[in-house]
């Protein structure tokens, strides 16, 4: 092949790459743009400040405050519960166990695999647990399902964060006579911004997921007060309203989608800044 032909091939593929890059990058703007264009005309103060009033589902007064609060409760509860379980696990795997031991290897593999399990399977599994324990669709059931879903995310993120802490820190603590538990506390303090990132990531996943809460959290027009009451969630509210034939209700679905998108974008931006701050600290 002549050099000219080879150069042309390079140029063609480079152009294709730029094109692919633009397509992948612009898909985000397409999605957010579509949601904003569709949702903005329907977004009113009532939408975020009121719970559904009588006749809400035929296009009358009301808002989706019940779903917003329900989602926050659900994702918040699951994140707290998930942290209580995943911080000890990641400390144990990274500080107590030797690197490369059988348990730490298989646990990491297990979490990688669990991370890939779809939320509908977690939902179905949590639902069988609920039948077994006799819990009906409620905030508690939803929290269980979402906790199962986000534990792998939390463990994997914390794992990555702990890996960035210099080994010397642990060794220094241990050589000063600290127990491993005390060394763990030192490391935990060091990775605090990383924990915030993990929390936001898990919270974002929890608030946006619908397949896991579909049969576990139920749906309600009221804001849940007790943990055994069914709770509405924002994604589910979008899903239900969208299938309505009434234009006003559909419009509310667009507005709810916009609210959810804004929440997610805020979470992502905040966690991005926290992550940036952390890297600054390390250097």
């Amino acid at each position: 092949m002549g050099i000219k032909k080879r150069k042309t091939e390079e140029t063609i593929f480079k152009a294709l790459m730029v094109l692919a890059c633009i397509m992948v990058g612009s898909s985000l703007f397409l999605i957010v743009g579509t949601i904003v264009v569709k949702g903005l005309p329907y977004l009113t103060w009532d939408m975020v400040s009121k719970i559904p009033q009588g006749g809400f589902y035929i296009g009358e007064e009301g808002g989706v405050l019940n779903a917003i609060i329900g989602s926050l409760y659900l994702a918040g509860g699951a994140t707290v519960l998930g942290l209580c379980i995943s911080i000890p696990i990641s400390i144990y795997l990274n500080i107590y166990l030797k690197r490369g031991s059988f348990l730490s290897k298989s646990a990491k593999l297990a979490f990688d695999v669990l991370f890939g399990i779809p939320s509908i399977v977690y939902g179905a599994f949590a639902f069988s647990i609920m039948i077994w324990m006799g819990v009906r669709a409620s905030l508690l059931g939803g929290v269980i399902a979402v906790t199962l879903l986000i534990i792998p995310i939390l463990v994997r993120t914390l794992d990555e964060v702990i890996a960035t802490v210099p080994k010397e820190l642990k060794h220094a603590a241990l050589s000063l006579g600290a127990t491993r538990w005390e060394a763990a506390k030192v490391i935990l303090r060091q990775i605090r911004p990383g924990i915030y990132t993990a929390v936001l990531l898990a919270f974002g996943r929890g608030i946006g997921d619908v397949a896991s809460v579909l049969f576990t959290a139920g749906f309600s027009d009221n804001i849940p007060i007790y943990i055994d009451e069914p709770a509405a969630t924002l994604p589910l509210a979008i899903f239900f309203q969208l299938s309505s034939p009434i234009p006003e209700v559909q419009g509310r679905a667009y507005a709810s989608a916009l609210i959810l998108t804004i929440i997610i974008l805020v979470i992502v931006v905040v966690s991005h800044f926290i992550a940036a701050k952390q890297t600054k600290h390390n250097i």
Partner: protein
């Protein structure tokens, strides 16, 4: 902490056992073969044929991979080999945000953006009529959903290729593209396959977004402009009524079990490959 860690590892098996336990009654009356091959779906008369749903899942997943893989490979190569760091600094956060967008938002976007395009512009060229709610639509929406996982893992894998290899190829007079084609991509092949398998399993389990745009017709699709009914959508759509018909819940749990087993195996294999790649180059 030891108990928590061991519990989390065994949790993978617990999910499998739990789902099997709920699905077991189905096996008393049906053989595995008949469940897979029969296309008769009539829960009220006790006929559970999963063939249409399995085909629906396969079609959607296949389309998603065919669309996403070339785009993401090109993007990944561009970002790791050609792009300036400023481009990388813009693209990586974009991809991260894309990963954080909840499925239901993808679904809403699919309804307002992809469905009309398929209905108005794409389908009329090939068939007489299409509602726009087709396996093609589902595949395109899924493709965008798996962009983040593909781009990020492909970039990670490409980064592990030793610089010496590339330098050797370049110094022999190969152009940059030839080096990428014959050295980098060849060397990265196992990692790329692993990334693809992970993306496939992500697409396999995706529920709500696909459910919203796929048409949900319980017939095996014969062209990309037919509607389809993937397994996760089947579970999500019928959970409400499953307790009232005998064996129905077992059938849905069997669908969940099927998803779990396939995705578990896919994830296990690809994670082992990826871990090996990472291990080889980090030590």
């Amino acid at each position: 902490m030891l108990i928590l860690s061991i519990a989390s590892v065994s949790f993978v098996f617990l999910i499998g056992i739990g789902l099997y336990w709920r699905a077991a009654p189905l096996f008393n009356e049906n053989t595995l073969y008949s469940l897979f091959r029969s296309s008769e779906w009539a829960p009220s008369s006790g006929k559970f044929g999963f063939y249409p749903f399995i085909m629906g899942t396969l079609w959607v997943t296949l389309i998603a991979i065919v669309v996403a893989l070339p785009l993401c490979l090109l993007t990944g190569v561009y970002l790791t080999e050609y792009a300036k760091s400023s481009v990388r600094r813009v693209m990586l956060p974009l991809v991260n945000i894309l990963a954080g967008i909840p499925p239901v938002i993808y679904g809403v976007w699919g309804i307002f953006f992809v469905v009309p395009i398929v209905r108005e512009y794409v389908a009329p060229r090939f068939t007489e009529y299409s509602s726009g709610y087709t396996v093609l639509t589902g595949g395109v929406v899924l493709a965008v959903m798996i962009f983040p996982i593909l781009v990020s893992i492909v970039s990670e894998v490409l980064k592990t290729i030793p610089k010496e290899l590339k330098d050797a190829s370049l110094s022999l007079g190969a152009t940059k593209w030839e080096t990428i084609k014959k050295v980098v991509l060849k060397r990265a092949l196992p990692g790329i396959i692993a990334a693809t398998v992970l993306a496939v399993s992500r697409a396999f389990g995706e529920t709500i977004a696909v459910l919203m745009v796929c048409g949900n017709v319980p017939v095996a699709p014969t062209s990309v402009f037919d509607g389809g009914y993937p397994l996760p959508a089947l579970i999500a759509n019928n959970f409400g009524e499953m307790m009232s018909i005998p064996l129905y819940d077992s059938a849905l749990m069997f669908a969940a079990l099927l998803l779990f087993v396939i995705i578990f195996l896919f994830n296990l294999v690809s994670r082992i490959i990826l871990n090996r790649i990472e291990h080889k180059y980090s030590s």
